[in-house]
Symmetry: C2
Subunit: 571 residues, 2 copies
């Protein structure tokens, strides 16, 4: 191992890389750099500081500034905005839905109290608008129930009155699913935010749907456990929203999808039935496992009110490194090597390209390039999590040495403490926010076999030429590309150059047009690019079975044309 250690280059100027409180600098970070098979080192015998392993606690409390604002403030600072109007030319409000009357409001006040019924304009404006400021509804009413029973009463009433409803958690969804398309009643779960139980023997957490992901992460950390789910929006998104979108995020590579870790749900159906599927057992094969219907159904089959989830024990040693690669092929080879060589300790493998890095450096306060002298074509963030600091670090070092020898890495830093690790993560997690600051953004969240994934990005660049910036990043370890096309303003001409091309390309390459964000309003009519007609038909039958009046999140997820009154509100 000593050979590899000697390859570190401790950069004196490293301390200038990161500024600011939430973007601490890389002072003392270990940097290495290789060109081909030879590596330079300035201080070959510089001793290595012991790696400070357990930084989970502090790291987890990092928040994206925009996400930590209150609902009302959150939307004020945004500069670009596309009114829902242009979508309204595509779908029409279902005429059979009622509109809110003063009797309705009185009824809701009776069951929820004044506090649970929100009508003030400023708040409504915020909760009608999605995170990207791309979709905007015109709801006149937000309800904030405090229990499954209250949700049940709300839905029973709405169903009988044929009032459409949009379930809403943290409103961080990226496909227009969490805001009304028209004037649907917003049922927001923020007030249902209790942790109900945690079993330290089994690691099973039971909580209400409105618990904020970051709160759960911090709670578990204190108990010596980890949430099997983590994502950039953790400061605002709620576990109910995560379950309803089947959120993937940064830890899926290690802990698998929510279909594997969610053990039970309590869900309220459109007619008010409370479905108690809140199992707390690792294994239960008694009949059909219906909870899976609700995981990823984006509020169109029921409102999730409680979640039971299996959480793994926290492991004490976490390593993060941030690497530069000269081409995509090297990123891929690095991924394969990481899977083999880091094996059971690999916990994240994220990538971003030059343009994504460029945007983060431009827009996020205090972030600087970890490799200040040069920009590279690709960057990879690798995290390992294990139970032995020395062993994990040795393993990572051996892997990095090998990758440098093979010319896969052109430069890299290994975080030496939690502050530096946070800085690495900050670059990766800050991309969505940086994109928002750049202007309009067309977001595509694609699953594509990794070998061909980046071809799409390059084809898109050729296609759009100078008219837009094409930015790519994502969960490479899971084959998940976030393709973002950034333009000064939203522009329908550009949109027509992107779509349907991007969907057709993905479909042709056996990919999925939504890896993790869901379909929402944005892609309800695009489902056939990823699913067979028979499968979509069965989805529609299940929707009709569970929500015969179609009051739950209408116009979303499935093509509206599949439902009975098709002709009225179809594209």
């Amino acid at each position: 191992m000593e050979d590899w250690r000697a390859t570190y280059r401790l950069l004196a100027h490293c301390k200038h890389i990161f500024h600011g409180r939430s973007s601490p600098n890389f002072h003392n970070s270990k940097r290495f750099c290789s060109s081909g098979h030879r590596y330079h080192f300035n201080q070959p015998s510089e001793p290595i500081n012991p790696y400070i392993g357990n930084y989970q606690q502090e790291f987890q409390t990092y928040k994206q500034p925009s996400l930590s604002l209150g609902i009302n403030q959150r939307y004020r600072c945004r500069s670009h905005y596309r009114c829902f109007a242009s979508q309204a030319t595509i779908i029409q409000r279902r005429p059979d839905f009622s509109t809110i009357s003063s009797e309705d409001v009185s009824y809701f006040k009776k069951i929820l109290g004044e506090r649970g019924v929100v009508q003030d304009e400023e708040t409504l404006d915020a909760v009608n608008t999605d995170w990207m400021r791309k979709y905007k509804g015109t709801s006149k009413l937000m309800l904030q129930p405090r229990s499954a029973e209250e949700v049940s009463q709300i839905l029973k009433y709405c169903n009988s009155r044929c009032l459409a409803v949009v379930p809403q958690g943290g409103n961080t969804g990226l496909v227009g699913g969490s805001v009304p398309a028209f004037d649907e009643v917003i049922v927001n779960t923020s007030h249902m935010n209790k942790i109900i139980s945690f079993d330290k023997v089994s690691g099973i957490l039971v909580c209400e749907a409105g618990c904020i992901l970051e709160t759960l992460i911090a709670f578990l950390d204190n108990q010596g456990f980890v949430m099997p789910l983590d994502l950039g929006a953790k400061g605002s998104c709620q576990i109910g929203g995560n379950v309803s979108t089947n959120a993937g995020g940064l830890r899926l590579l290690r802990y698998g999808s929510l279909h594997g870790s969610v053990l039970g749900l309590e869900v309220v159906l459109a007619n008010g039935t409370v479905l108690d599927m809140l199992g707390t057992l690792r294994k239960d094969n008694t009949g059909y496992d219906l909870k899976h219907l609700f995981i990823g159904s984006e509020g169109s089959l029921g409102i999730v009110t409680k979640v039971s989830i299996l959480t793994p024990p926290k492991l004490s040693s976490v390593n993060v490194c941030f690497l530069a690669c000269s081409d995509y092929a090297s990123c891929l080879k690095l991924l394969l090597d990481a899977k083999r060589k880091l094996g059971e300790i690999l916990s994240a493998f994220e990538f971003l390209d030059h343009d994504a890095m460029d945007l983060v450096l431009k827009h996020l306060e205090g972030v600087r390039n970890p490799f200040p002298s040069s920009m590279h074509n690709f960057y990879v963030l690798i995290e390992t999590t294990g139970s032995s600091e020395s062993y994990d670090r040795e393993k990572l070092d051996a892997f990095l040495l090998h990758s440098m020898e093979n010319g896969l890495i052109s430069d890299g830093v290994v975080a030496q403490d939690i502050t530096q690790a946070s800085s690495c993560w900050h670059i990766r997690e800050g991309i969505p926010e940086a994109l928002m600051k750049e202007g309009g953004v067309y977001k595509y969240d694609l699953s594509i076999p990794v070998e061909t994934m980046y071809d799409l990005v390059e084809e898109m660049r050729v296609r759009l030429d100078a008219s837009a910036k094409v930015v790519a990043y994502g969960h490479l370890g899971d084959g998940n590309l976030h393709l973002n096309i950034s333009t000064p303003q939203y522009d329908d001409n550009i949109l027509s150059q992107i779509e349907p091309f991007v969907y057709e390309w993905t479909s042709k390459h056996k990919g999925s047009i939504s890896a993790e964000h869901g379909l929402g309003l944005m892609k309800a009519n695009k489902i056939h690019y990823s699913k067979s007609p028979e499968t979509v038909q069965l989805m529609a039958s299940i929707k009709k079975l569970l929500d015969p009046n179609g009051i739950l999140n209408p116009y979303k997820v499935l093509p509206p044309s599949l439902f009975s009154k098709a002709e009225i509100y179809t594209e």
Copy 2:
């Protein structure tokens, strides 16, 4: 570490422990023994042979003798047998189902050829009888389609003729689900056994439903990957059957349930529709994830014809140890410690009690007690899987040392090579077979919070007194108890002392009455012990939606009383 190594006691007489080809001896195994906080050692400075790590290949090809027999042979050697007649007093054949005519047979021969239509009595006798020889149907016809299209033609025809069907894979199911209750047509998937593709980059395997689990395990092993599923019946059970029962098995602790690792399915519905959900992507959030409906639906919603599954890379180092504990509390503490201390390398944590060991020693050829001088109250098998032999072994050693110091282990052996590891596994995997050889057996497969799990076993012993042997083993790491009550003959008096007590107890302790085996015929009417009425009602609605005529595996999974012609065939 050297201290711990010195605690090993290499037993000279160890070579006599195991006999025979499939139960190789423990010669050279490392044995240690502690009483309380002091450990004895005969040869304290005996050097440790390097552990021979990668034994996956040979280990996986071990077969339970009875399971490796052909269909016809398999059932001849069994001694205990309970005719289905006594069940027939409980349910009645649905009179609206047709009976097979010669025209039906001609039609099936036309679409499947002579080879696909089986009518000879001996074979029919075998496939009408379940693995336990407890349930027996009277089907006159077994069909063996070779493709999804043939399955589609079969089901379309059966649906139009109202002919009931039982899907059958390897017929190793333990709840009477895989054999006809009456004269249902058996649709056996054994001829659909092709591996379709394997992607070495992503580890995604696509194969037909009839592939035998062990064949897939061996295939993947050659490719440097592992099947995330392993169970004692691997030599006979098929992946389609595994998916349809949502089989758990020996690796669930490490790799999670099939809901996490199955990426896609092709399923034929009752009306012959082929549902292509055969995704090969790690992530795909386009609409409802319908494949989960079929995982664990025990052939009652559709016939699985193809499976796509994510397989993890094979790790080179595997350790197995077999430990003795004096009480259940020690097993529990050992489990908690193992989760914490072995962390990411823990891959199995199985337990058996004194009575289970007793049976294995009595009935399985060549198996001897690894601790020959004494019997203990409990035994635990721990497996670790990781990527570093030295590190894993060090970790395991430290864990064992700590457990001995704390008095949790009273004796133990660590396998020194694949042969010894197989011997350890042979004890655990051989229990179901040993039970079969003892006489009649009432099998209960329960999920119960681990803290109270063994109380049920003890209460049951008090309840049954000398009239039956109560044997307990299972996947302790997953909270899964296999409670078996062994009697010389099947006896309804004893049954009435066991049931409903066992279900009521489990329900009262918030457990599940089927952790992994499913409900089948045995527990269709017991579902309410584990699921709420609303949930069961929704399951029935989904069954009606997908199979309106109820031809698929009737009388199984859900209480027959829930379906329209209830009064005719209800308990």
